[in-house]
Structures are given as structure tokens and as C-alpha cells.
């Protein structure tokens, strides 16, 4: 009997010490919430931004004294980093007739879905008149395609950026080769740079499924002069070209199909890649302290991307992030006031000063931006060269891109022939209508 008691005491001790741990943990930070959430007070609005923009948003609100001016308290909450995880949260909340936050900073993929679903509200009546004039023509054109649904604007963009073409100027100089200007030039570089045994490739990309592969498919098809979602000749050219790069001219590492951007960047800074397409955040990564030893301007030079059969005008495209208001927001009036404010020229400039997450081709922003900054210079170069096309659009973007990724990935890994892959894509896309 004594032994039994011992074991029960242990059991209690275990629970007890665990509970004590919890109690101790309860002493830190903001109080945990056990029961009913505190009612959201009047004149409060919640804005969800990614962790990478949290501080910037707070700085912006402080710098402009939004709360002092309007009497509206703003709580900045964190949204997740992918469309998949954030949709998990929004879809269930909005279906339940409520919303975890009022305003959200969101990407292209979410915009088409949320606006068509009626999950976000139209903003035309709250957009300040100065905004459209302040947008560059490309940004206006872009917004009409990507931020609008049936003629109404659902998102006010503040981040407008494009994949850049980064290359190792030091390597190009060393080998005495020129920056490629056409697809044929790119193919030829396979022989120049690729050293398969040592894992060095002329180029690499992040092509894993989950909206990574789609970016490249759209980018290449745009260079071919078309929209991949039409599944037409341009898309066929694009797929043939990608397959050629991977398996014939050996310029593009086929292992790209299992990589995301983080892996792609890792390979680039490990001297495994001569050039690549990548979003501007790579500039941050390359210049970060972690890569201080490796970094030199020569290694992250930026040039205009090689033009495809479609011509120089569609060598790359811009994508954007912007603000929208959740339809089931409990504080619609305050949310509108906040978004209307964020759309002003003044706020746009202040936001850019708070951080480059808020850099776009707005005239007032570009004027106020530090001219010697690499990103500003790159954006100006691409704008001046006129290489920025409109991102290939499909009204049911998230579904359509999934279909293309499934079928294209199957083709590129030899599970389907090119014809089968395209037939299937066409068939499934037709079902979306």
C-alpha cells in the first residue's frame, strides 16, 4: 500500500509542479485571456499587418498622430505570412459573420478571392481624390486589374514591386560574357556557367508549388507575350522554354522545383547561381549582416531581364500589397476613416519613411524617397526602361494558379506530356467559368 501512495504522490507532484510553472508563466507580459474577450470599445480599429511591417505601421501611426487627429484608437495585430494560413483565419471568421480585425494588409491572391466573395468592401467612396493622380500610370493600370472587381476598387495598394533580374557581375566580367538580352542568350549561358558536378547553375528559381511556381510560369509566359491562364501558344512556348532550360541547355537547376525563395536565395549567396529572378527582398537579405562577408555590389547587380518573344515591354511584372476592409468588420466607420487616411499622399510618404515595405511608384513617394537607395534606383531603372508589364490575371486567380501549378509541375517532372498537361489545364480552367 505504501508503494501505491508513493506513485500517486508523484502523480500529484507532477501536476502540481506543472501548474506552478503555468502560474509563474502567467506573470509575464500582457494578461492571457481565459474567457470572454474584452468588448472592442467604440472608436477603436484593428489593423492586421505582417510581422515584417508591424513596427513600420506603428511608427507611421505615431508620426502622423492619427489617433490624436481622429480620436480613433488603432490596434496593430499580426497577420500570417502566406495566403493559405491567413485565409484559414479569414474564411472561417467571415463565414461566422464576424472578423478578427477590421483592416488588412493583403496580397494579390487574397484580393481576387476576397473581393469576389464579398468578404471585403468597395472603397471607391473613401479614396481621396488626390490618390489616382499620384499613382504612376502603370500603378493605375495595375490597380484596375488587380485591386478591382466589376469596376469597383477593393484595395488601396501601398507596396508595388516587381521581380528583378539579379546577376553576378563579377562572374560575367570574369568570363567576358554579356548580360543576356534574349531567351536564346539565356540558354547559351547554361554552357558558360553550369557546372553540374559542383552544383553550380547558370540560374535557379524557387519553383515549389504553393504560388511559387506560378510566379515563374506567369513571368516567363508574359515574356512570351501572353497570359498563362489562356493556355495558348505563349504558354506552350513558356513551358517548352522552361523545360529546355532545365533539361537541354542545362541553364536552370531542375531542383528548383523543390525549392522556395529562401532556398533559392541561399544558393545564390553560396555562389551556386550566376543569375536569377527574385523579388526585391533579396536585396535586403543580401545586404543583411548575415551576408556581410560575402556581399559586394558586384555580386547583386541588377539588369533588365532578358526579353522574350513578346518583347521588352513584358519582361517582368509588378505585384502589390495594399489595405482593404473586411466586410464583417465590427467597426466599419472607423476602418473606413483609417483606410481613407492611409490612402492620402501624406500618409503614403510617411509610410515609406517608416519602411520600404511601403515603397511604390506613387509620384509623391518616389519624390520623397532617398535617391541613392538601391531599391529606389532599381525601381526607377525598370520604370524608365519600360519593362514592367501587367501581371497576368485570372478572375479566379487562386484556383487558376493551382491548376497551372499542378499540370505544369507534372509536365516538368515527366508525369505528363506537354499536350496532356496543357489539355488538362485548359479543361480544368474551363470548369471555373
Amino acid at each position: 500500500m505504501t508503494e501505491k501512495k508513493l506513485s500517486r504522490r508523484d502523480f500529484l507532484k507532477l501536476t502540481g509542479s506543472a501548474a506552478a510553472g503555468a502560474a509563474a508563466a502567467g506573470l509575464v507580459g500582457k494578461p492571457a485571456r481565459f474567457g470572454v474577450p474584452t468588448l472592442i470599445q467604440n472608436r477603436t480599429v484593428r489593423i492586421a499587418v505582417g510581422g515584417w511591417a508591424e513596427q513600420n505601421m506603428k511608427d507611421l501611426l505615431a508620426a502622423t498622430d492619427f489617433t490624436g487627429q481622429t480620436g480613433i484608437d488603432v490596434e496593430v495585430v499580426i497577420r500570417t505570412d502566406t495566403k493559405e494560413t491567413e485565409l484559414t483565419r479569414i474564411a472561417s471568421a467571415v463565414q461566422a459573420g464576424t472578423s478578427p480585425y477590421d483592416v488588412i494588409d493583403f496580397e494579390d491572391e487574397l484580393t481576387t478571392s476576397l473581393s469576389q466573395a464579398g468578404y471585403v468592401i468597395g472603397l471607391d467612396d473613401i479614396i481621396p481624390s488626390e490618390m489616382w493622380d499620384d499613382f504612376s500610370p502603370e500603378m493605375v493600370e495595375y490597380s484596375q486589374v488587380w485591386s478591382a472587381y466589376e469596376g469597383e476598387t477593393f484595395r488601396i495598394i501601398h507596396n508595388w514591386e516587381m521581380p528583378y533580374w539579379w546577376y553576378r557581375k563579377d562572374w560575367f566580367d570574369e568570363r567576358g560574357v554579356d548580360v543576356p538580352e534574349t531567351w536564346e542568350d539565356v540558354k547559351a549561358l547554361g554552357e558558360v556557367f553550369t557546372d553540374e558536378a559542383n552544383g553550380v547553375w547558370a540560374t535557379e528559381d524557387g519553383l515549389i508549388k504553393g504560388a511559387f511556381l506560378n510566379v515563374y510560369l506567369a513571368w516567363i509566359t508574359l515574356q512570351a507575350g501572353g497570359n498563362p491562364f489562356d493556355v495558348g501558344d505563349e504558354y506552350r512556348m513558356a513551358l517548352e522554354y522552361i523545360s529546355d532550360l532545365m533539361y537541354t541547355s542545362k541553364a536552370l537547376n531542375p531542383a528548383s522545383l523543390q525549392k522556395d525563395y529562401n532556398q533559392q536565395n541561399g544558393d545564390y549567396v553560396a555562389d551556386k547561381v550566376a543569375f536569377m529572378r527574385q523579388w526585391p527582398f533579396f536585396g535586403d537579405v543580401a545586404r543583411s549582416e548575415d551576408n556581410a562577408e560575402w556581399f559586394s555590389e558586384d555580386k547583386v547587380a541588377v539588369a533588365v531581364p532578358p526579353a522574350g518573344p513578346g518583347g521588352k515591354g513584358g519582361s517582368t511584372y509588378a505585384a502589390a500589397w495594399g489595405f482593404g476592409i473586411i466586410a464583417t468588420s465590427p467597426n466599419l466607420a472607423e476602418a473606413k476613416e483609417l483606410v481613407s487616411f492611409l490612402a492620402t499622399n501624406e500618409a503614403a510618404v510617411e509610410a515609406m519613411k517608416a519602411g520600404f515595405w511601403f515603397l511604390s511608384a506613387r509620384k509623391s513617394v518616389l519624390e520623397a524617397a532617398p535617391q541613392d537607395n538601391w531599391l529606389v534606383q532599381q525601381m526607377k531603372m525598370y520604370t524608365d526602361e519600360g519593362v514592367i508589364g501587367v501581371r497576368p490575371f485570372h478572375p479566379r486567380f487562386v484556383e487558376a494558379l493551382t491548376i497551372l501549378e499542378d499540370t505544369a509541375s507534372a509536365y516538368l517532372t515527366d508525369q505528363l506530356t506537354l499536350d496532356e498537361s496543357m489539355d488538362q489545364a485548359r479543361e480544368q480552367l474551363a470548369d471555373l467559368e
Binding site: A91, S113, G199, P254, R396, L412, T413
Partner: protein, 314 residues
Amino acid sequence: MQKTSAKDKAAPAQRQVRWLAPSRLAQRRLLLFVLLVTPAFLLRLTTAAYPITQTIFLSFTNLSILKGTNDYVGLQNYADMTGDYGVQQAFSFTIIYVLSSAILQLVVGMLIALLLNGTFRGRTFARTINLIPWAIPTIVAGYAFRWLLDDQFGLIPNWVNDLTGERMVVFITPLGARLAVILVHVWKDAPFMAIVFLAGMQGVPLDLYEAAKVDGANAWRRFWSITIPMIKPLVITMALFRVVWSLASFDLVYGLTQGGPGVATSVLALQVFREGILFFKFGFASAISVVLLILVGIIGVIGLRLFRRADVTL
């Protein structure tokens, strides 16, 4: 109160609470049963009954937020499923994935449990590290293995390269990707099987082994005729739930391959996530869920049969 008869000892399957005689107090026994089971049932009822009925109901509608449709369509969703390439592929891989990983996990889990139940120096160490794979969040594990198998900086491809000179690129062939998904699943969850089996083995009365030894049974025989029968209900339970969980989860596939290349490693639960959460096609997603529900129902019946049989032969 009625004394337990000697007959009960002879027929262990009928070891039941006897202090309330069935003839006189059946109602009180029922009441006691209900009382004990109620909290668990209340919990399930509040959180499972509504989702299940709603899912079944939705599966007969074409509720799609983007299309703006919400009508009763009978079995249309189920008919559509048979023609849907993604669902078909996902269905076949789901079966492969669930069965092969469940069987491997059972076998490996049992071997690990046997090891951890042995006496050797370092046993505490082994028992401690055993649970680490399972303690890693699945998404993190998926991500970690993507890096472990990276063609440039992955540990395993580098070793393969050193040994053979071949560069190993795992996820760009369907076979490689499928193997990786299944093996990582086994790596991650077999330890979880093992710890339950281990606890079960420790609950086996020692005198059974002693008696068998007196009868001259060797270790192998003792394992098959004592250990296995004694923990058989556990083995069945674990297999059953392993299958149910694998059917319903997609986070490993999500972290490791995103269902690629092509749709080679796509599973039904991933399709539910896509169709429901990403595409807002709640009707169609619900229909896929119901297919999973039916699969689980069938497996549950089989599991219960086995469970009862194991119980009787104990």
C-alpha cells in the same frame, strides 16, 4: 451487493462491475454508465455534432462563395468527384500513404517499444530521445526535411554525393517525393506508437512471463503468446487512430511537398483544405470530407470488430 462468482475469473471477458447485480439493478448500472460517459459525450456533442451535420448537409449543396451559388444539388458533388483529376489522384495516394505509413509505423513502433523495454545502459537516454521526433511541430519537421534533403546543402544528398558521386534530387520525381513523405511520416510518428506500446508492455503482469518460462517458452514465443495478446487492444487502437489521423491530416505533405511534383503526393485532406479554405467551395469540400467520414466509419467498424475479438481472446 452480490459476491462475484468464481465463474468470472474463468471467463475474463466478462469481467464487469458486479457489485450491482444485473438482475435487480440494471437501471442503476445503466445510470452509472451514463454518468461516467456523459462528460466525454457532452464535449464531443458540442464540438463535433454540429460540424458533422453541417458538413453532411453542405455536401448536397453547391455552396460556392465565389460562384455565388448555394442550392441543393443532390449527389452532384459526389458525381463530380469521380471526374476530378486532383481528387482521383489524391484518393489513390491517400490510400497508399495511409496504409503504408500505418503498417510501417506499427512495425517500427513495436520494434522501438521492444528496444525501449529491454535492459541496457542508455535506456533512459533512448526513451527520452524517442519522443523528440513526435514533439516537433509537423510543419517544422516538413520544413526541416526539405532542407535535410536539399540538393545543395542537405546532409543526406551530400553524403550520397560523397559516396556515389551522384547528385541526389529527391522531390522532382513522383517516386522520390512519395517515398520521402511516407518515410518522414514514419520517422515522425512511429515513436508515438512506441511509447504507447511500451506503456502497454509495462502493464503486462510479470508472473505471466514467469509462468511461461517455467513452461519452457523462449523469448520469441513469450512475445507472441503473452506480450502481443496482452497489448493487442492497444495495437488495434493505435492502428485505428493512426489511420484515422493520417486520413484527416495534410500538414506534413503541406510542409514537405505541397502535394507535388504534379499532384503525386496530394492527399484528400489537402484537397478539402484547397477546395474549402482556398477556393471557398464549401459544398464540394464538404463532399470530400464526407468521403473521408465514410472511410473512417468503415475502418472504425473493422477496428471495433478486431477490438472485441482481441478482448475475448485475452
